[in-house]
Symmetry: C2
Subunit: 235 residues, 2 copies
């Protein structure tokens, strides 16, 4: 167990006013004077793949909006194994429980190089109290998280391992179907689909043989979404 590298970097105060994805996140519709009211700094932070945004039971004093990359939310099963309960992508928010609880209820880890905005809870609380739109956006984010969780339950936790993996790949490739997707470790794949890493590996290999996946460079895959759809819904 070597100590983790310095895998996050503070990139300076965020420029919320000119944020390119503001419409996706909490501060859509803020007015100029709202920005002037910020008391605590909103930071833009980079994490390398594997970097930890926050840990289980860490003091929860900020929520994180994802500007780029992919973050996994992990819980521990009764037997101590890990289970990935959600993925958070561009525009998504991690750590919403910080608004209600003193500590985080998951571990949040970057699956790819990630850019996030770290927003202190105090700011979110103040803004949602005064600004109904922030309040509405916040509820949308809760709903988003819940919808994702439901999707994991119906899509990624039922059916054969082949079907589950195919559905996950469809999910990962839906934004940019033409571009290759970065796949993560087989262990992560397994703990997302509730199968072993060996099964994940075998199934990936199988998909490559079938032509449903095409590996352009190590762990970068182009998805044949038609073939994957056929597998995902197969009897």
């Amino acid at each position: 167990m070597k100590p983790p590298e310095i895998n996050n970097a503070w990139k300076g105060a965020a420029a919320c006013r000119s944020c390119g994805i503001r419409h996706l996140v909490l501060f859509a519709d803020l007015r100029e004077e709202d920005f002037d009211q910020f008391h605590s700094p909103i930071e833009e932070i980079h994490f390398d793949a594997g970097g930890q945004l926050y840990g289980l039971d860490d003091p929860a004093d900020a929520v994180y909006t994802i500007r780029q990359g992919l973050v996994k939310l992990v819980q521990y099963q009764p037997d101590g194994a890990q289970r990935i309960v959600r993925l958070v992508r561009l525009g998504g928010v991690a750590g919403l429980e910080a608004l209600l609880r003193p500590t985080y209820e998951h571990m949040a880890i970057a699956l790819q190089p990630v850019e996030v905005c770290r927003i202190p809870v105090s700011e979110v609380r103040r803004l949602q109290a005064t600004n109904p739109r922030v309040h509405y956006k916040l509820m949308e984010k809760w709903h988003e998280a819940l919808t994702t969780a439901d999707g994991f339950l119906t899509g990624l936790s039922t059916g054969s391992a082949r079907q589950r993996l195919a559905r996950l790949l469809l999910l990962l490739s839906e934004e940019k179907p033409e571009e290759p997707i970065r796949l993560f470790t087989r262990e992560d794949l397994g703990s997302m689909l509730a199968v072993t890493l060996e099964t994940a590996s075998r199934t990936i290999s199988d998909f490559k043989r079938l032509g449903a996946l095409h590996e352009t460079s190590p762990n970068r895959m182009i998805c044949d979404r038609d073939k994957l759809s056929a597998i995902a819904t197969a009897a």
Copy 2:
């Protein structure tokens, strides 16, 4: 397919002021004058087991707080099979998406005789805008739903069928460990644990033989929580 019986009954306008579980639900901390502001009636409704609170894609114009009984939230899997994604119990809320979406995203069915309060969306919206405590309670309910979903993912969708069933039984018996719990159909059990109804049945029988379950009357079981815990965490 016979048409469903008349299995719900309007029980009159709810007496929110004197509600025994008000501290659990959305209207904790309302003042007297808030109640006077109600425009649409809040109804108290009874459903028999099997009764449907709302269906998938129904127009969503109310949220439901559960006063008694157990409600399942059901989604359909890609192959058309049903999947129970959440259970809602005393104090829980079903249909929160009504605040954000025009239609419901699940089917909500009573697993037992159920008492609910049906609260029109318009009332919730108005109250949360003016009353920060309602707004806070609402967020708590979102969080509650998400926590339940996470529990389903980590506890009820991983491990062997034996472990999953044991965990579910622990969940169902945690409120009143001494009292027998009503078990639902093996099909529902299966679609909650992502196993077949036969496996659910076999495992129940097995638990009875082991003494982990004791059947007092048909489908009423007393749980030996120690034995179930041992099974739930077994290697």
